[in-house]
Symmetry: D3
Subunit: 217 residues, 6 copies
Amino acid sequence: MATTKTLVKTRSRNGNATKPAPARPRATEGDDTEITALDLAVAKLTPAMEAYFKKCEEKLGFVPNVLKTYAFDMPKLEAFVAMYNDLMLAPSGLSKLEREMIAVAVSSVNRCYYCLVAHGAAVRQLSGDPPLGELMVMNFRAARLNKRERAMLDFAVKLTAEPWTVEEEDREKLRRAGFSNRDIWDIAAVAGFFNMSNRVATATDMRPNSVYHAMAR
Amino acid sequence: MATTKTLVKTRSRNGNATKPAPARPRATEGDDTEITALDLAVAKLTPAMEAYFKKCEEKLGFVPNVLKTYAFDMPKLEAFVAMYNDLMLAPSGLSKLEREMIAVAVSSVNRCYYCLVAHGAAVRQLSGDPPLGELMVMNFRAARLNKRERAMLDFAVKLTAEPWTVEEEDREKLRRAGFSNRDIWDIAAVAGFFNMSNRVATATDMRPNSVYHAMAR
Amino acid sequence: MATTKTLVKTRSRNGNATKPAPARPRATEGDDTEITALDLAVAKLTPAMEAYFKKCEEKLGFVPNVLKTYAFDMPKLEAFVAMYNDLMLAPSGLSKLEREMIAVAVSSVNRCYYCLVAHGAAVRQLSGDPPLGELMVMNFRAARLNKRERAMLDFAVKLTAEPWTVEEEDREKLRRAGFSNRDIWDIAAVAGFFNMSNRVATATDMRPNSVYHAMAR
Amino acid sequence: MATTKTLVKTRSRNGNATKPAPARPRATEGDDTEITALDLAVAKLTPAMEAYFKKCEEKLGFVPNVLKTYAFDMPKLEAFVAMYNDLMLAPSGLSKLEREMIAVAVSSVNRCYYCLVAHGAAVRQLSGDPPLGELMVMNFRAARLNKRERAMLDFAVKLTAEPWTVEEEDREKLRRAGFSNRDIWDIAAVAGFFNMSNRVATATDMRPNSVYHAMAR
Amino acid sequence: MATTKTLVKTRSRNGNATKPAPARPRATEGDDTEITALDLAVAKLTPAMEAYFKKCEEKLGFVPNVLKTYAFDMPKLEAFVAMYNDLMLAPSGLSKLEREMIAVAVSSVNRCYYCLVAHGAAVRQLSGDPPLGELMVMNFRAARLNKRERAMLDFAVKLTAEPWTVEEEDREKLRRAGFSNRDIWDIAAVAGFFNMSNRVATATDMRPNSVYHAMAR
Amino acid sequence: MATTKTLVKTRSRNGNATKPAPARPRATEGDDTEITALDLAVAKLTPAMEAYFKKCEEKLGFVPNVLKTYAFDMPKLEAFVAMYNDLMLAPSGLSKLEREMIAVAVSSVNRCYYCLVAHGAAVRQLSGDPPLGELMVMNFRAARLNKRERAMLDFAVKLTAEPWTVEEEDREKLRRAGFSNRDIWDIAAVAGFFNMSNRVATATDMRPNSVYHAMAR
């Protein structure tokens, strides 16, 4: 038994006896050009939205594809942006990182490619702890979290997977972990929002900007 | 075997041999006064929101509890109202009734008390077919629907229950039922929105105005 | 942002820009005439069953469709009626309302159109609290119940959804809520019965008498 | 690597290095004496039931524990026996073996100890093919069945696991396999009955007569 | 109501009014000759494997079909045998019976025909309590077990059904039941191994030697 | 509505109004030092294993933690290494990349932290397409795959999630995608192996070497 040989042999990817795999596309082929499966014509941006897109370019270096997707209709884009920015960026008892952690843990239950990529990057960036982003994608239960984070994610994930079972006892657990009633609202609202966005993104096969993949690694 | 006796005997509710049930609260006790479990202080309405609430009073006779719930924070209320009104009331390839049918079928998967009550009433009212509202709550598959409605609800319910499995084949089914790409967006957006609202409502134990229960029966 | 406009505008159901929905059948089309998908010829009623049907007409004003369905075979009809009447109407530690609440909560898990309609009406009628019927259909956890009712429904719903996990601990919870061993039998028997009826009704697409929909609202 | 050694060594059950397992009860301890967890007093048998129990003793050599269980109340016992005998033994387009196969496949989904033991024995006996009984318990899909049997069990198992999804298409599959509308009723009624019995048995921890275990092996 | 007649009448299997069932194959047709659906040519046994197969013949009277299945490739067969024998037969804090109980309880979750038959027989044989084997197949919760066995199977079954939820709390339950860390490894390793074997067996439609069915009854 | 402000503002992570999150551990705290929750003493390596570990150090730069974990017992380590190397590295109709894609897609269903990290890195490395690794973790259905890869992963994931439903039809789909019977074995064997490893890793809280996180990004 020659057990010593092969766990480490990764350089010559296909051994002699191994048939070469058929040609394959890049996994993200077209992600930056065909953003959704619906091909909706972009509308003329309102001045507010034009300014907002410009600001994205300046600060991020790109306009997130979700915004380009909603840009087929200005009222929809403006409503989405207003709600998103309020939830994720306005003052709250939850830090921005905590809100992004909820976003990714929820998106993990729903297995949403767009949101896992975009918000996984945000968790890596905001935390300065890149594996935290991976863990939110994979299984938040395996991450070393403090009690507050764990209670928050337990609630958000239960609310995502089996909303009909959430009751006062679940809110009490959050209160015992130090969350105020207003904080509970924010946890629910962020979890709810990504339950919406996950479904809009999956239903339309929305593709994340490929720049996210390497961000903050 | 005296089988003839009792299926019909409903008047004397508890027979002699039956112990009286213990006192019980009304199932909707407090629904109009304690709207959520979070007890968040209402903020001062912006002029726009004040006008909007007044309009609700005039047209509906009441302000829906969901609006009162969001009124602890004006940016949240305004963002919610903007998105809601765009989705449910703006021009669309989907009729208003169809959008409400999605709302209820989605809320049925998530078993959301608030949304089933409020939007079940809307389906009864918009359709002029009260049992249609019941069927959306109970099991949309048992309703006599046309093919378009059935395809629409099949998509919305699959997107709700197992979003990660929705793919091009599912969009193709909608197209074969006559829906345009823009219509597919609208189906996804409405289904997504109620996946959000269901969770915010359940997480906060939001209670519907009790007036909905008897509406359009 | 003209948020004030449209949440309340429900009268003109489809706005100008909205395509009219295609003609649609009533959701309950044929419910009173084509009672099942199986089209089994009705047999000659035995004298006992003839008397029983007459009594239904007198007391309820109609013969429940489930009875007409079983009437293709007298032994089956008689066995069903005997078991039904014993379970739902004979003396028991459970009130008739409690038994009907179990019926609806179980039927909600199984999403049985026939039973939710017929027994939802019974809960409305027996309780004098119409929203209680709705809540049993939607999500019993959202109703204001006393502890006894809650324990009873928790047991019945667990027994319906995951029967293999019910053990002594579950019976102990019922005992702690004040139920006797005989009461536990009755809870199990009623929950079991509707797990049967739900499946017979769904398998045959059994349709409830449409008169139930408006009853006791 | 001495791979040859041990797969076959089963005689000396615990090797030297293996700690002896702690004393354990027989898996079926008390099955013939404490038939349920509810301990309900047996009532006086009616003459019809007394004759029936005597007949069981003569033909089977014992009274099935389910009958003893129901014997705390004569109307319940009589209703159960009437329905059971009609469903499982009266003339039908389904053979008795087919009805027992449904019983076991349904009970396998619900993992009901009582019904799997008692009706697994019936399948072994009626088929003269003992492993068929095992396969109905384990996974009916692994058995070599004819198309009719497979269609019948597919329907019964779907109706058990996800009743809300059963629709005309499922009935059509049965018709294509040669079943009449009356046969569809019988499949549904037997599947429904065991969905009831499984739950009554599990809820009460009903124990099968231990004689079943060795029967028709 | 002639309830006395038929529960016991099993001898004349199909009554006059009952159509004979169509000819049916034995449920285990071909199990000893067409061992898998893949029809892979058996390779020449290495001397070690030849000796091992011979030993099986001597001790068991047959070579288990799983070994014949793996025999298309000697390195795979040797690796499987080495791992199997180490896990199931080497010294451990778990008795051989306990390891077989885990094997069957895990295989019951996955409904694996091969493993339930082969290892169900092993439980019957090692325990000298044949119904214990049946109970591991049907629902381990219904067996009379000691606390140690119950804790062990609860862990193995949770690890099988929802591995992502297993955490320190679950390991603590095992420790409280008297298991060491090394024992926990062994429980996990055996449960893991059968989660592998169940899938290889089902994926290839692997058939157990039919001799297992009657063994140790 | 000042929508232009904040989607892009990620630099100052917590705004003034936002409470700082409580101190939190790194998500991977201790991953390289406390490899499992079981704390089993490492045994003396056999010469073969010592050579193998040395080879890992030379080629990979580290010994994978899974190997260190198994090193408490040499027969277990050797059996694991033999099976792993045969499955993942020996000649096969599946390329090494394909085998790693199965590993990650299976581990995604089971949400196994260790395997997703270690084998996600392998997919990135072998494919030269880092986002492919991410997509296998998140939702393989969202990746741009060729038909062969898709059929292979559909089979592996179904076998993982609902093994009892895999039948000849599923094998036929693989054959139609060009896989031989031997290839089907290999797909099943790799999927099976990771269903084992996922459970051993999760049951013991096995932690991946932290070097994997940044590898081949």
